[in-house]
Amino acid sequence: MKREAGALAAWTSLAWLALCASACGTEITVKNSVPSATLENVRWVTESGTVYTPSDQHLLPGQESKPVTIPEPDQDATGHLEFELLVEGRKVALKTDNVFRSVLGESTAFEVWPKTAARNPLASSATSGDPQPANP
């Protein structure tokens, strides 16, 4: 009887946690803090390879995307941002060296700054460097 009650309590706790996580909602947004440049086709690619894309595909300087809800497997995940940097009719595809982490049950803004480390996979040399914290 005691054992059954314990199991029930454990299940209840798990269900409560899951409910809380989904109710609070883990979300991410992407903010463009690069003056004079537009970010296009922004996506957050987690270390496991899942891609999350905000509905706004065109972020002007200072603009923040609409939130993207992150489902359970990636609610505390890390990943890199990939986007196209557009300046005066010319653009280049970039991937950040910086690692961006979603926080369970919170809305986290991933901010791209001028100092954000980013490379083009085709143009950069073999050296990739250590991961750096996001939003330096």
Binding site: V34, S36, A37, V45, G49, T50, V51, E82, L85, L86, V87, E88, G89, R90, K91, V92, A93, L94, K95, D97, V112, W113, P114, K115, T116, A117, A118, R119, N120, P121, L122, A123, S124, S125, A126, G129
Partner: protein, 196 residues
């Protein structure tokens, strides 16, 4: 689930693109024009170094193209880059004071593409602001002036001398051009007196 598999396939495809990188791809190669606007990023010219003689009766002599090591350019008063020539090794036999001279022109091809300087010095563009600067840096149709700021020459004994010709080369870019022709760039130096 199906969506997850699709995203995973996308990520694998992205990874494959990343693995396909080549050393020869410059930062400028990966820049695209989205509206067909002219964006010249490459200057092409024929580079000749001519020996200057104080004696007008002496025929002009030309420094062997393999002795031209690198050249530093400005365009419209802004740095364009430093560009290396890879002319190969040159035997010292027959040289005069470290110079191999010819009575006919000895020409080197100059291809000066924005973005190559950083990569040659193992300093690739690695921040958003550096990429923004590269995207800003292109030449619009119209008249421009290149300045040959420095020319570094390699003598046959392995030492380098730097000439500072301050040579101005006007050129024009037409609508739709992707490169600009500088034509003949003839730099005069005094081999007897060393480079200026």
């Amino acid at each position: 689930m199906r969506c997850g598999a699709w995203f995973a396939a996308l990520a694998v495809a992205a990874g494959m693109i990343g693995c396909g990188s080549e050393d020869s791809t410059t930062a400028n190669d990966v820049v695209q024009s989205v509206d067909g606007r002219s964006a010249v990023d490459t200057l092409i010219g024929v580079f000749v170094v001519k020996g200057k003689s104080s004696d007008p009766l002496v025929d002009a002599s030309y420094v062997d193209y393999r002795q031209i090591s690198r050249v530093k350019l400005q365009v419209d008063g802004e740095p364009w880059g430093t560009f290396s020539f890879d002319g190969g090794e040159l035997a010292a036999a027959g040289s005069q004071d470290g110079w191999v001279l010819h009575s006919t022109r000895s020409e080197a091809l100059l291809v000066a593409t924005l973005g190559t300087e950083g990569e040659r010095t193992d300093d690739p563009l690695d921040s958003v602001e550096e990429w923004v600067a590269l995207l800003h840096k292109h030449l619009a149709p119209g008249g421009h002036v290149a300045l040959v700021e420095d020319v570094v020459l390699k003598k046959t004994d392995g030492t380098f001398v730097t000439a500072q010709p301050r040579l101005l080369v006007p050129f024009t870019i037409a609508q739709g051009d992707r490169s600009a022709l500088l034509g003949d760039v003839v730099v005069e130096i005094d081999p007897a007196g060393g480079a200026r």
